[in-house]
């Protein structure tokens, strides 16, 4: 099975994140950047499917030159190769434009299965898998906590607020996964060394036949007008329980009219 995993480099969600003062895009240049956590689960799932059914795993990333670091990290887990869509004109692309570029890249890769994380920790927009499925005319099975592959038949348990839905489709398909689906492996030393030699193909917008004015700030379908930091929360009252902590807690909740 020819599997492509979408990997996004994002600012570390454990560190302070901000928008760039000059153009209100996510500040990536000065941030500590990592692989979007959920994507590691997609890589793991791809590797497990390859181990069980054979095939090839390709990492696909759209991002600035610095994203190479995350691509190598992804490859160190075990995928065979990577494609990096990189073009200065992509800076500031909205989700609609991003899906156009990724769909164009996926058309060149002829994947049976496209795997990705259910959402990225920076935007948390959660729309990419269905946008890609819409553009490519393939099935989308999203929010999977379990995926079963039987030949060309895919069955997923899609997590919902009430429980789950069992959804089925035939390949080609896009599948997005939550972090409940597996436990991603750590790269081995051998894997890290091997990743340095794995092929990474760089594609420009011209290579994909996408015009520069369809993406980036020029082609954006939405615009951030202003950004402000929320004032940080401050600590309120803190008491130490001396036998009546529960009662005091309820007294507070009563004052605040929750009881």
């Amino acid at each position: 099975m020819n599997i492509v995993v979408l990997v996004k480099q994002v600012p570390d969600s454990g560190a302070e994140r901000t928008l760039s003062a000059s153009d209100n895009t996510v500040e990536r240049a000065s941030a500590s950047n990592v692989i979007n956590e959920m994507d590691e689960y997609a890589i793991e799932e791809a590797l497990k499917i390859k181990e069980a059914h054979g095939g090839e795993v390709t990492v696909l990333t759209m991002g600035p030159s610095g994203a190479t670091e995350s691509i190598r990290k992804a490859l160190s887990m075990g995928p065979d190769k990577a494609v990096h869509v990189q073009d200065d004109a992509l800076h500031g692309s909205c989700a609609v434009a991003t899906s156009k570029v990724l769909a164009a890249a996926l058309r060149t890769l002829d994947a049976d299965l496209v795997l990705c994380g259910a959402e990225s920790t920076d935007g948390r927009v959660q729309v990419m898998p269905h946008m890609l499925a819409e553009r490519l005319g393939v099935a989308a099975l999203t929010g999977a906590r379990k995926l079963t592959v039987d030949g060309s038949q895919l069955t997923a348990e899609r997590q919902t607020d009430e429980g789950y839905e069992v959804v089925t489709a035939a390949t080609p398909a896009v599948v997005s996964v939550w972090d409940t689906i597996n436990e991603p492996r750590y790269p081995s030393f051998k894997g890290i060394m091997a990743a340095k030699k794995k092929p990474v193909q760089t594609l420009s917008l011209a290579d994909l036949g996408v015009a520069a004015d369809e993406v980036g700030a020029a082609g954006a379908t939405s615009q951030v007008l202003e950004y402000s930091k929320r004032p940080p929360r401050t600590a309120g009252t803190k008491i130490t329980d001396e036998g009546d902590g529960g009662a005091q807690l309820v007294a507070y909740l009563t004052t605040e009219k929750f009881v």
């Binding site: 269905h130 607020d161 007008l225 202003e226 929320r230 309120g236 803190k238 529960g246 009662a247 309820v250």
Partner: protein
């Protein structure tokens, strides 16, 4: 006044979800609210009317209901072409966002997600970076397609007499690629849904084991709230993943958030720090959760929580 399409979130158990009423309330500032209902609308009509739906578009049938997302996006896209609405509002839930995504591609239109408010000119206020920042944004191509986060605004009734219109949806084969073969309900009891609840009581690693989560559930039930869990508690198998609050779980913004045995790692704070009031119980006085708690009790939750539960019973 132009119509504003509100894609209704509802469930069989709960009927019209609160976020739908919030959307109808916001829609009134943008135009005339029209509800779009997938599946049987009969049980939902009264509530939608109470909150100001002037029209109800209803699409039913296997083609719409038994395939994932795509047919719904096709239906909404056709409706947009037909009525030329001022905006489309959807819930910021997995499915709401997914419909919005497909709709944006179909119409080559911008979209904004996780909005907490939409002004009359279509400018949306969004909470970003897990509650650390606020942005104001606008769709610059096409009409505003905006998803609204649950618990963004207080729904206010404004009774209307909606006209019901059945939609005939031309669902293509391409919309029927992913079949929903089974819907399984795992959530037990009558607790409010996590993202919609006004009160959320969550347990963390400090709760110790799955059985002890009964304590968290008891307090939640006494307060009429939902139960949540930290990632540490979920990873340890204490509570199911759909109740996880945090960066890789649900984002909640209730009136009251009670954190029991939760240290307050950034992973968790990301999912709850926009809550109005935060209360924490933790045995570690240095736990970061106290940095954002309006009221904190340092001590043993196994003593404090049962005492609090008794106290609430007394006051009832």
């Amino acid at each position: 006044m132009a119509e504003v399409l509100v894609v209704v979130e509802a469930s069989q158990a709960a009927g019209v979800k609160k976020v739908t009423l919030e959307m109808l309330t916001i829609a009134r500032t943008l135009g005339s609210p029209s509800a779009v209902v997938f599946g049987d609308a009969a049980a939902l009509t009264d509530k939608l009317a109470e909150y100001g739906a002037e029209k109800i578009y209803n699409a039913t049938g296997d083609d719409v209901e038994n395939f994932l997302v795509a047919p719904k996006a096709t239906a909404v896209a056709a409706l947009v072409q037909q009525v030329q609405p001022a905006a489309v509002l959807l819930a910021s839930t997995q499915e709401g966002k997914e419909i919005a995504g497909r709709l944006a591609v179909k119409l080559d239109n911008g979209l904004l997600t996780d909005a907490v408010d939409v002004a009359a000119d279509g400018t949306a206020t969004q909470v970003v970076f897990a509650g650390a920042g606020i942005v104001k944004s606008k769709v610059t191509r096409g009409l505003p397609i905006v998803t609204i986060r649950p618990n963004s605004t207080t729904p206010t009734p404004q009774p209307a007499t909606p006209a019901l219109e059945q939609l005939t949806v031309a669902v293509s084969e391409g919309d029927k690629l992913t079949k929903v073969v089974e819907r399984v309900t795992e959530q037990k009891g009558s607790r409010p849904e996590l993202t919609e609840a006004s009160i959320v009581v969550s347990g963390g690693r400090g709760v110790g084991n799955a059985d002890n989560f009964k304590l968290v559930e008891e307090l939640a039930d006494l307060l009429g709230g939902a139960v949540g869990a930290s990632r540490a508690a979920v990873d340890s198998g204490y509570y199911p993943h759909q109740f996880q609050v945090g960066q890789t779980g649900k984002t909640v913004s209730p009136q009251l958030y009670v954190a029991l045995g939760i240290s307050g790692a950034i992973q968790h704070r990301a999912g709850m720090q926009t809550s109005k009031t935060i209360v924490a119980v933790n045995k570690d006085a240095e736990a970061p959760i106290f940095e954002l708690a309006d009221y904190g009790v340092v001590g043993d939750l196994f003593k404090i929580v049962p005492q609090a539960a008794d106290e609430i019973r007394k006051r009832k």
